[in-house]
């Protein structure tokens, strides 16, 4: 496949990530921080994010198994996880985090459990999409 075709593919992929609401303008901010001296900055940040957030996912999962639920702690974990998600522009993930926190405030255990599944799903989906995206970007570079 020639380079311009790959480039078009990359552009389409990128646009759809935004159009479909997976990413928001914070991702653009990160892209602006990339330059010739730091050509992989975004990928590095995203990698850090996934390394870090796996820990939060695990902690939240464990905390959800501990009945009765400690909503304060759950909210705290989710707050941190949401913060990092927001920093990379992970729009859908962030939305689910907000929903989760709302259920925490309401003391709704079932709501929390259900939303946590959504959080994990969005988190995994975005990871796959971004991996594909960065892989393609590296092919072109």
């Amino acid at each position: 496949m020639d380079r311009s075709h790959l480039q078009r593919q990359l552009t389409t992929m990128r646009m759809s990530l935004f159009d479909q609401g997976y990413l928001d303008e914070q991702f653009l901010e990160l892209e602006d921080l990339q330059d010739d001296a730091n050509p992989n900055f975004v990928e590095e940040i995203v990698t850090s994010y996934y390394n870090d957030s796996t820990r939060f996912i695990r902690s939240i999962g464990l905390a959800l198994d501990n009945k009765p639920l400690d909503f304060g702690k759950l909210d705290q974990y989710m707050h941190q996880f949401k913060g990092s998600s927001s920093s990379i522009g992970a729009k859908k993930v962030k939305k689910e985090c907000t929903q989760f926190q709302e259920y925490c405030s309401a003391g709704n255990a079932e709501g929390c459990s259900r939303t946590f599944q959504q959080v994990k799903q969005e988190h995994a989906t975005l990871r796959r999409k971004l991996e594909t995206y960065f892989q393609l970007a590296r092919q072109i570079a």
């Binding site: 707050h79 949401k82 913060g83 990092s84 920093s87």
Partner: protein, 239 residues
């Protein structure tokens, strides 16, 4: 005269030293960044480096105090070599919050004059007020953007971005005068939207009598000159 009265509220230097820059004493702005989130630390570090700042990034209030030599138990650097021009810290951190760190810094004779900026993902007016009252220079809502850091650096250290010993606050004060005379946009809606559509509008003038007028009552102490330029001024107008 009220002009000097306002600007010397927090800084005692006069404004006529602008012509006396001494490059041999200058250095890049050194920022101490404090955030427990690895992702956020990396981002803030990059943002600061892009704006030509030197950065030391630590993951907790405790480590920040250690770095500054304010931790009772550990000292990591020789105070004389330490030139921290700005401290930017996350608010919500396990252990010591950014607010507690702010109080410790403002309570120290060595570092109380160093501007402290708080970052938070939560836009809570009471929290912002509390930080500003405790002496924070500014409050940035996360996620932090390049424009936030540029604006911060510009109004604190002047557009040259070079910190000149004992002179940088002089430059800052002179810019405050220039910027106050540029005030407009009194009707702009207060907002801290994530994406300013264009370069940030200049901050609207205070509804109370202009601080430059000699007959005005002095503004409350928390309204330092730098606050008039700061983005949080717009927030406070929502009250």
């Amino acid at each position: 005269m009220a002009r000097n009265g306002v600007f010397s509220r927090r800084r005692s230097e006069k404004i006529d030293g602008f012509g006396h820059l001494s490059p041999s004493d200058s250095h890049d702005v050194h920022v101490l960044a404090v955030d427990d989130s690895l992702v956020d630390r990396k981002v803030i570090e990059r943002l600061l480096k892009i704006t030509s700042c030197k950065v030391t990034a630590v993951d907790s209030g405790r480590r920040a105090l250690q770095f500054l030599g304010l931790d009772e138990e550990k000292r990591s650097v020789d105070i004389d070599d330490l030139k921290v021009d700005l401290i930017i810290t996350d608010y919500c951190m396990p252990g010591m919050t950014g607010y507690e760190l702010l109080k410790k810094i403002k309570g120290s004779s060595t570092f109380r004059e160093v501007p402290v900026v708080i970052m938070s993902s939560e836009n809570v007016l009471a929290r912002i007020d509390r930080c500003l009252e405790e002496g924070a220079e500014d409050f940035i809502v996360k996620p932090v953007k390049l424009s936030d850091v540029k604006r911060l650096k510009d109004y604190m250290f002047g557009e040259s971005g070079i910190v000149v010993e004992n002179e940088h606050r002089v430059i800052q004060n002179k810019r405050k005068l220039q910027d106050l005379s540029d005030d407009d946009d009194a009707s702009s809606p207060p907002s801290i939207s994530s994406f300013p559509p264009s370069p940030p509008p200049s901050i609207s003038s205070s509804p109370s009598p202009s601080p430059l007028s000699s007959s005005s009552p002095s503004p409350p102490p928390s309204y330092s000159p730098s606050l008039l330029d700061s983005p949080t001024r717009r927030l406070k107008m929502t009250n």
